[in-house]
Each structure stands twice: as C-alpha cells, then as structure tokens.
C-alpha cells in the first residue's frame, strides 16, 4: 500500500491555495489523476518523487517511510527512485535515444526490449531535436521505465501520441507493468483517454 497524507502550499496569482491529499493506493494499481488546471496535480506527483517538499504530511511506500514532516524524515529523490515522466519530457539535448536509456540503466537486453516497446529501435542514434513530439514522449516514458521503478509517475504522458499509437503503447506498457509489479499514477487533462486502462482514480479540485 502507498499511503499519502500531505499538505502543500501552491503558488497562486492571488491569495493562497493549498493542496491537500489524503489517500491510499494499492501496490500494483494504476491510478488516473485529473482535475482543473492549477490545482496541483503536477505538484502532487513531484511531492511523491521528493522533488518538492510538502509543508506537512507523511508518505509511506510499503514498509518504507519516504516522508514524515513530524519526525523530519525526507528521503531524497535518488533514494525514492521513482520513475518520472515529465510533462515537458525533460530529454537531454546532448544525449541520443540510446544514451538516454544507458544513462538510466546498464542492462542492454532491458534497453533493447524498451526500444521495441516504444518502437524506437531505428532511432537509437538520434538526439531529441531530431525526433517528433510523439517519439520524444515515448523516449521520456522508456527512460523512466529503464530504472525498473516500483512506482511510476507520469505527467500527461500520452498527449502527443495519435490514438492508434497510444492504444498500442498502452497495451505494451501494461504488460511491462504487470511483469514488474509497477504501481502507476497518471496525470491527464483528458481522463477519457485512460478509460478501461486504470483501476483507481483521484480527482483533485481547487
């Protein structure tokens, strides 16, 4: 079980907004997270990954406490080792497709499999600027998966994919997640695209 109970102040143009989430997520579940813009969906994912610090709260993954503001425990992102797909992809312009995956994993056979999953086998020597938006987004997903994370956080991961590619990719990804026992949380502005694919949902409102 992943138990999350956090409070985090959000930057707002006027006044102050607070993100408050108190939820538990079964291990191995796939959760869609949705809600209006500016309500803190990305901040929620970053708080779980350890990239932003909530003012108050606890995060526990299985038996391991990742965050407890009362006892001042806060594991670094490096120790939480969460797979994270960034909304802007966060691909490194200096690295090719293959170098991105090698930066995340030393396992060549695993990298080869991921390249097949993302249909990027023929683009291994391409740098991000020579990839289409969809290819870049697939690479961002593959890089996050390369570390074989127990928890995968995805921020708008399918927005640049056409419906056909999205369906094929989701099918392939589900197989990998089942095999690895990965717990997945997906933020989407278009929750319908995830219908029939997720088994949990979290609506974040202002």
């Amino acid at each position: 079980m992943i138990a999350i109970d956090i409070e985090k102040k959000l930057k707002a143009y006027r006044g102050q907004q607070v993100l408050k989430i108190d939820r538990q997520f079964p291990l191995g579940s796939i959760t869609k997270i949705y809600g209006p813009s500016g309500t803190g969906k990305t901040t929620f994912l970053k708080a779980i990954a350890g990239l932003v610090q909530p003012e108050k709260g606890k995060i526990q993954f299985g038996d391991t406490v990742w965050l407890n503001t009362e006892t001042r425990i806060s594991l670094s992102p490096q120790k939480r080792k969460v797979g994270f797909v960034f909304q802007d992809y966060a691909l490194f312009p200096n690295m090719t497709v293959l170098e991105h995956l090698q930066y995340a994993s030393p396992n060549d056979s695993w990298i080869a499999r991921l390249l097949r999953v993302g249909k990027l086998e023929t683009f291994t020597d391409h740098k991000p600027e020579y990839l289409s938006g969809g290819q870049q987004q697939r690479l961002a997903i593959l890089r996050a998966l390369a570390i074989k994370p127990k928890l995968l956080l995805m921020d708008e991961p399918f927005s640049a994919l056409d419906p056909e590619m999205r369906t094929t990719l989701i099918k392939e990804l589900r197989a990998v997640w089942n095999e690895q026992g990965t717990t997945v949380m997906i933020v989407s502005h278009n929750p319908q695209e995830l219908d029939g694919f997720t088994n949990q949902e979290l609506y974040i409102e202002s």
Binding site: K46, A49, G50, L51, S76, P77, Q78, R80, K81, V82, G83, F84, F86, D88, A90, F92, P93, N94, Y103, A104, R143, A144, A146, I147
Partner: protein, 236 residues
C-alpha cells in the same frame, strides 16, 4: 620582400615579450577562472537569497567600477606594509604587488563577471526538469552537473572562456596599478602600447596594437561561431 621576411624583420626589431606575457597572463587567468567560475556560477544559478545577491553584486563590481579604483584597493590590500599583503609577505615570503602573481590575482578578480555571467545565465535557462529527471534516475547533484548540465551549456562555457581571455588581453588600469611597468615581469602588451606612445615610438605602439587587435578580433568571431552565428551580448 615577401611576407615571411617582413614578419621576421618586424619580430627582429620588436621586443615581443609583452605579447607573450599577455598571452601567458590571459591563459592562466582563464584557467583559474574556469576552475572557480563553474561551481560559483552553478551556486549562483540556484535559488536566490539576500546573501547570494550581495555576492553577485560584488562579482559584478569590476564591470562598473573604474579599473584604477579596483587596482588602487588591490594595491593597498596587497602592499607588503599592510594587512593581508604584510601577512603573506611575512609568512609565505609572497609579494603580490609588482609581480606576475599579483597580476594573475588582479586579472582573476577583474575578469570574474565575464566568466560567471554567461555560465550562470545558461544554467538558469536550462529547464529545471533536466536536473529533476537526473535525480529521479539516481544521480547526485554533482553527477547531474557533469553529465547533464555542463554538456548542455558547452557553448556558453566556451563563450565565457573566450571573453575572459580576450578581456584579460585588454586590461590596462588594474595591471598598471598592481603590476607597474617592469619589463619581462609585469609589462603586458596594453602597457607596452601606452609606454611606446609616451616615448613617441609609434611604430612599436602600432605593432603591439595590431597584434592585440588581431587576436581579440579572432576571439570575438569565435564567440559568435560558438553561439551559432547569433549576435549575443557578452553577458548573455
């Protein structure tokens, strides 16, 4: 008379020591500033605080302060009769005033904003998610800096190094104040130009100036090439 004999004729007549001394000073200053400037620019590029603003203002001072003022204070600070200068002299037998080491120190301080500015600006322009992605993959801050941030600001680092080198070539006020005009020790090219004009030796002044102009012009061209032919402010 062909090009080669003319060049040999000029070099035979001229004392080129100031040019070599200038190049040596610029190379050492650039190297020292690369070592100091990269971590300092990285630190400054991160979240701001009042302390950082004060440090940044101090680093920027050489840009706005008359070089003679900076030189004057350095002269006072490193005089073997006072404070730090006396302490260095008494404990390490180190004299910075009127020495090449003093010139290096003064140049490092004087050119610091030229190294820090472009690197800090480039680091700030990189998306924060680059570092965040690297952290989630298990890499430390240092590993992220070396593997992700530094390769993606390569052009700016080159620009900063070239500007620092070129700026050091053109120093006059600071080096004159702290180094004086000792042939073979502190008499750099810019001072040699001034000295030649003072002695009405316009031929030597012309040759020194031409060499300095040529080197700096090539360097500025290099800056534009590294920035992919886009005209950029030196401090961008």
């Amino acid at each position: 008379m062909g090009f080669k004999p003319i060049a040999i004729f000029i070099f035979d007549l001229m004392d080129l020591t100031p040019i070599w001394l200038t190049l040596k000073l610029a190379a050492i200053t650039t190297l020292v500033l690369l070592i100091i400037g990269l971590p300092l620019a990285y630190w400054l590029s991160k979240r701001r605080s009042i302390f950082k603003i004060v440090i940044e203002a101090l680093i920027t001072m050489p840009l706005v302060l008359p070089p003679s003022v900076l030189g004057f204070y350095l002269l006072l600070a490193f005089s073997p009769r006072h404070g730090i200068g006396q302490w260095l002299h008494d404990n390490f037998d180190l004299q910075l005033v009127f020495s090449f080491k003093g010139l290096v120190l003064a140049s490092v301080i004087y050119s610091l904003p030229f190294m820090i500015g472009p690197i800090k600006s480039a680091l700030q322009q990189l998306p924060k998610s680059f570092s965040e992605a690297s952290y989630t993959l298990g890499y430390t801050e240092w590993q992220t800096f070396v593997n992700v941030l530094l390769p993606n600001i390569k052009a700016s680092v080159w620009t900063a190094a070239i500007l620092t080198f070129a700026h050091t070539l053109g120093e006059f006020g600071v080096v004159l104040m702290i180094g004086g005009n000792i042939p073979g020790v502190t008499r750099v090219a810019s001072i040699a130009v001034y000295d030649s004009v003072e002695n009405l030796d316009y031929h030597s002044a012309n040759i020194y100036s031409l060499i300095l102009f040529s080197i700096t012009f090539v360097m500025v061209i290099a800056v534009f090439v590294f920035n992919k032919y886009k005209a950029k402010s030196p401090l961008e």
